[in-house]
Each structure stands twice: as C-alpha cells, then as structure tokens.
C-alpha cells in the first residue's frame, strides 16, 4: 500500500482510490491514447496511474486555451482577482489532500508538506491582489513632446505554454502555483506540462480550479512525458509564449535549447529556466518578474485639440 493511501485511509475501511485525469477545457478527459503511466513516491512506491498525455492531448489543450483567451482577458481585473482568491479559498478546504500529495511527491514529512501547501494558498492570494494593480506599475502616461495624449498599457500575451517546475524545494505544488498564478493573473490562458515525475498535485489542482469560477480552458493540465508535451507547445502556431522553468532535460527534444529553437519559428516570448533549476527554493518570496514576463505593452496616441 502506498504512502499516500496510508495517510488518507482509516484502518476500518477500504479506501476509494482516485482516477487521476487530465484537465482540458474545464473537463477531465482521460488521455486520447488510453494510456497511463505509473507515478511513484520519492521512495519508489506506487501512488497512482496518471494519464500519459500525448501530442494530440496537448494540441486539444491549446485549442481550449485559445478559445478561453477572449473571455478571460476580457474580464475585469477586479473580477479576475476575485476568481484567483476563490482558488485560494477552495485550496484551503483541501489542504490536507494536497499536503499528502506533496509529501509523497517530494519525500517530505507532513509538517513540511503542509507548510508548502499553506504557502501555495498564500501565493494565490498574493497574485489575486495583483490583478488590478499590475497595469498601474507596468503602464505609463508618456509625456511626449507634442499635443498628444499618449498612454501605454500592458495586455496579456495570449496562450502561454508552461513547462512546470520539476526540481527545487516545493516544486511539485508551490513551484507549480508560483509559475501558473502570475500567468493567469494578467489575463493569459495556460497549458501546463505537469512535472513528469510528480504530476499528481498538478492534476488535483485542476479539480480545485474547476470549482473556483476559473472558466474552462483558462488552465489546462497535461501529464505525461515532457519530451512529448513541451515540444508540441514550443512549435504550436497558436501558442504565444513559453515558460521553460521545468525544461531540465539534458538531451533529446525536451531540452531548453531545443524548445527555444522551436519557439523561435513563431517568435514566441520565452522565459528561460534558471541557471541551476535544482537549486531553486520555491518558498522564496516572488517578485514581479513573472507577472511582467507575459505582457505586451500597447501604446495609444491621440491628438489633443479643439
């Protein structure tokens, strides 16, 4: 019996296992391949069978993310802030479940895992507060030398492909939230390639999002081989930006270099992985850099006169 089920079980009854599924367009499909792969805890004990998401699953997710752009980017910043806060509320109620999943995924004790989930909840709250402030720090009224009204405003880039963190302390959930929340806070939609070895917290997050007023398609989560999912995102014509935080493969099609090369074909905005991704501590307080990474500045001119 796995660590995860031990924690959640009571001796008196047989526990109901959960079938982990993808999260695409607000729904929970199995992989179109019909295939799964074994997810184990840090000690190699079986935890669950996760869907082995394919290139096709990834393309479906991009379609869903694209369809959601208009609605999500068009909501008011105030409304987006409330939706993100709602995610924190929902997560709070499922703290213990996520603590167990994080403990199993990262081989941590219950106390440490619980603290990481608490921080993840707080991070949603932090980004919820940013939605209606980011335009004021990233925008500008520009004093041009002429009789013109001139205003710069930040706008979401569009669909962002995220290779979720696969290393660093707290990567499996706090790391995921730390890269995902800023992307959607600013009105982008996302397709997340979940950490291949630790996808369960990401897949469970889909269940939280689905009950948090986040419109379907705004966040899509695909589990499976990073080498399948990430290159599909990097080469997709309808993905506007790429967060390569978790692109840590040493060789093959999933390396950060290979993905950045693919992204260059459509001039995607690329956020590169850290110099040493394994040394990242996701408990560190975030700055505004991720929030500002997936924004476009639009400058509007109009003459002034009578």
């Amino acid at each position: 019996m796995s660590d995860l089920s031990t924690r959640l079980d009571t001796p008196a009854r047989i526990q109901v296992f959960k079938t982990y599924k993808l999260y695409v367009g607000g729904k929970f499909p199995r992989s179109e391949s019909g295939r799964v792969y074994e997810v184990t805890d840090a000690k190699g004990q079986w935890l669950a069978n996760a869907p082995l998401g394919t290139r096709k699953d990834t393309r479906d997710a991009v379609l869903a993310a694209r369809a959601a752009v208009k609605g999500w980017s068009g909501t008011t910043a105030y409304n987006r802030g409330q939706v993100l806060y709602r995610v924190a509320e929902m997560l709070q109620g499922r703290r213990e479940q996520f603590a167990a999943e994080v403990a199993a995924a990262e081989g941590l004790g219950g106390k440490k895992a619980g603290a990481l989930v608490d921080q993840a909840i707080d991070r949603w709250v932090w980004y919820a507060g940013w939605t209606d402030k980011v335009a004021q720090i990233a925008g500008a009224a520009n004093p041009v030398a002429g009789p013109f009204f001139n205003l710069s405003v930040p706008e979401p880039t569009g669909v962002v492909g995220i290779v979720a963190p696969q290393t660093g302390y707290g990567h499996s959930f706090l790391g995921l939230v730390s890269v995902l929340a800023p992307v959607i806070a600013t009105g982008n939609t996302a397709v997340v390639a979940a950490a291949a070895d630790a996808p369960l917290p990401a897949l469970s997050l889909g269940e939280v999002l689905a009950t948090s007023d986040v419109p379907g398609g705004v966040v899509n989560v695909i589990s499976g081989r990073t080498a399948d999912i990430a290159p599909t995102l990097a080469s997709h014509q309808d993905v506007n930006a790429l967060d390569l935080t978790g692109a840590i493969a040493a060789d093959g099609p999933g390396t950060a270099t290979a993905l950045e090369e693919l992204a260059a074909d459509t001039l995607k905005r690329v956020l590169r992985p850290a110099v040493d991704p394994a040394a990242q501590d996701w408990t560190n307080a975030p700055g505004t850099d991720r929030l500002l990474s997936f924004l476009e500045t639009k400058t509007v001119w109009h003459p002034m006169g009578q």
């Binding site: 500008a140 400058t299 001119w301 003459p303």
Partner: protein
Amino acid sequence: MAKNKNAAEPVRKSGLFEYAPAPESPAAAGDIATSYGHFINGEFTDSSGSEALKTVNPATEQVLAEFAQGTDEDVDRAVKAARKAFADWSALPGSERAKYLFRIARIVQERSRELAVLESIDNGKPIKETRDFDLPMVAAHFFYYAGWADKLDFAGFGAAPKPLGVAGQVIPWNFPLMMLAWKIAPALATGNTVVLKPAETTPLTALRFAEICRQAGLPKGVVNIVTGDGRTGAALTAHPDVNKVAFTGSTPVGRAIAKQLAGTRKKLSLELGGKAANIVFDDAPIDQAVEGIVNGIFFNQGHVCCAGSRLLVQESIQDELLDALKRRMATLRVGDPLDKNTDIGAINSAAQLARITELTAHGEAEGAERWSPECELPSTGYWFRPTLFTGVSQAHRIAQEEVFGPVLSVLTFRTPAEALEKANNTPFGLSAGIWTEKGSRILWMADRLKAGVVWANTFNKFDPTSPFGGYKESGYGREGGRHGLEAYLDV
C-alpha cells in the same frame, strides 16, 4: 469650406504647387573619406580582412565611400574593447554617465545640419525628413535617456538594477542614425557598453557618430562601430562574450537570431516587420485622414516597419476617400532628396527597388488594380512612384507581406468587427491606425487591435518617452520610454 472647394479642383493643373528647386548643399555633409575602417576602442582601425564594400548615393548611383567588411576577428576585437571598457563604464556614477550622454545630445544638435545632409545622401531620404524628423529625434533620444542614467533606482526594476554587459546591436538602413540612437542611448544610460553594426547600405552616419563620441570624450571602448553586411552581424550576435543582442530588421533575420541565441543566457530584443492597418471609418475627418494615410505609407518612401501599408476603408466612403487620396498623391513631389521641397526621395538600394518591383508585379498578377500619379522620375538613381492598389483581397501577397516601399493596398469593410478581423489577420503586430470621430469606437478598436502602437486620428508619431515595439511576429521588447530600459537591465 474654402479648403473643400480647392480640394475638389485639379489643383495640380492650376500651377499652385509648382515650386522652384530649393537644393540643400551636398557640401554641408562635410568630408566623406574615400574609405573607412571600423571604430574600435576609440580609434578608427583597419579591418583584419581585405574585403571592402561600397556605399552609394541611391539618388545618383555614385559611390560615396568604401568601408570595411567586418571579419570575425574584427568583431572579436570590438567585443574585447567593449568588455574591457565595461568595468569602468558600469562603475561610473549614473550622474557622470548622464553627462556624457547629454554631451552627445548637444553635439548632435550642433552638427545636425551636417548629419542631416549626410544621412540624406547615404540613405536617399528627403532632406526635409532628416532635418525635421530624424536628427531632432536622435538628439531627443540621447537627451531623454541621459536623464535616466542616474535615476535607475526609481525606474521600477528594483533598487540598483544591473547592466547586462556588452550589447551587440544590429540596425537597419531605413533610419540609420535614429536607429543608432534608439539602441545606443538606453544601453549607455544603463551602464552597458556596445558594439554596433550599421546596415551595409548606410554606414556613413554611424561612422560620423564615432567622431561625435570622440568629441564628447566618451571613454574608449564604450561605443564601437563595426561595419559590414549580414555576415558581420551574425558574427556579432553569435559572439560568446556578448550579453545582450538588440536587432531591428526583417522578421526572417529576427527568427534566425532568436534561434541562434537559444540555449544561451543572452538577452534579446527584436523589432521586426509590420503590415499595419490604417482603418478609416465613415465618420472620419476625410482631409485629416488623407494626410494621415499619405504620411502613413509615403513617409520615408514607405521604408518604415510600422508603415500604414494596408488601408482599410469603410465601404460607404470608399469612393470619396480614394478620390481625395488620389488628388493628394498627385501633389507628392518625387525626386532629388536634397531638394527641400521633395516629399518622396530615392529607394534605398537597387535590391530594395527590385523587391518592391517584384511584389507590385505580383499585386497586378493577382488581380489588384494599380494606380500611380503621373510624375517624372530622374533618369539615374533608384525611384518608385507612389502606388495604390485597390481591389486587394486578404490573401494577396501585397496584403500579407511587407513591401517596405511607397505602396498602399486598399481593402474595404462594413462593420467595426470586420475591420478588426481584417486588421488583426496578419502574423505581424507592430502598429495600427484608427480614423473616426467617435471616441468610444477608438477605445473599443484600440483595445482589440493586436499591435504595439496604435495611432488614433494620427499616424507615424514617435517620441523618446513613448514605448515602441511589436506584438506577435513583429518582435519583442520595447524601445523608448521607461519600458525601453528593461531591455538593457538584468531584471
């Protein structure tokens, strides 16, 4: 009313716009050497190679000067000089760096007539534009970023933001000195040192700028100029000791640079092609819109990445607008760039003329209707008449590809939603124009256009304080304003 009455008549025949020549003196450009080397570590030096390129006056086809084709070794020498200079330059208090930039701004102002004439001769653009647009903008850009050098703590990138190191900068031929200013001013203000490669058809003002750096007493190696064609540019962007690459030019080259930099830690900003829609609604002030359309596509011979090369006109006013536009186009004076009355100068190069000629031939072959006003063109030099295509569909090459010449494609629409759909139907996203008297419609359109710069009831306006740059395949990063600092800071 009187204005409308005039506009209704064939003014050209009245002789109202007959002008005597008003030539600027080519001698005002100062001495042009017969051959130039690179400017490295504060000195003009010969190339390690023997290959030389020639820059010609596109209005006369006469060779102005020879200049060096930069080799890998030349680039390496320049990067080494910039690296060596970086330690002291970045350690200099911002207030001191600022004073160097203020000096440069002032010297540019002092020498602006000389630089304007030199730019016109080397590039082919009208003296009216170099004098009244390019040069004032160059000085203003240095002046603006000079002021930032000691205020970076307050720019919103955290306390004491750090420069990146050596910036490799590759610029195009359409606004040679202005593009240099857009690249060098923010790089120096933030404490970086630079190696800049001007375009191979317009190296002269960059080389003259090297003299200005010397007059300003700029420390050696802070600014290095290496000339040459795309091979030199590729050597510069590939150099392992360059920390930052800034490129303005075509989307295919931008794509290649992005690919080249994949897997490195070099920071990249790209300002690439465009196919801007200039959208005219039925309630627009027609005379102003016509001026805006003309400025949008014929400014600088249409060699403008943000040119309004697609005119989207509401169907109900198509005839009225096109009649007015044709009347206005008939008054454009094409010819000697040094004549102060010239509106449209020479096409920058034979290669660019060939590209414009090829794409416009496609336009006709694909069924669009071509129109140009009658005008005499000089017998030597590279020239192209201001050209209008009507009956253009969205699939036509002249509606999709950047022509980079004085060629306007006209499409029509019925509703704002259709205008928006057509305007955004391009992989580019650099700029757009909106002409309407209805404020809410301007804001509705501006909100939905996928473009980095939106001009409403105006077009082709620029300012050092105003961020410029594109969405989608028009590149990333911004130049100008507070936003322009980010491209040169480690944030």
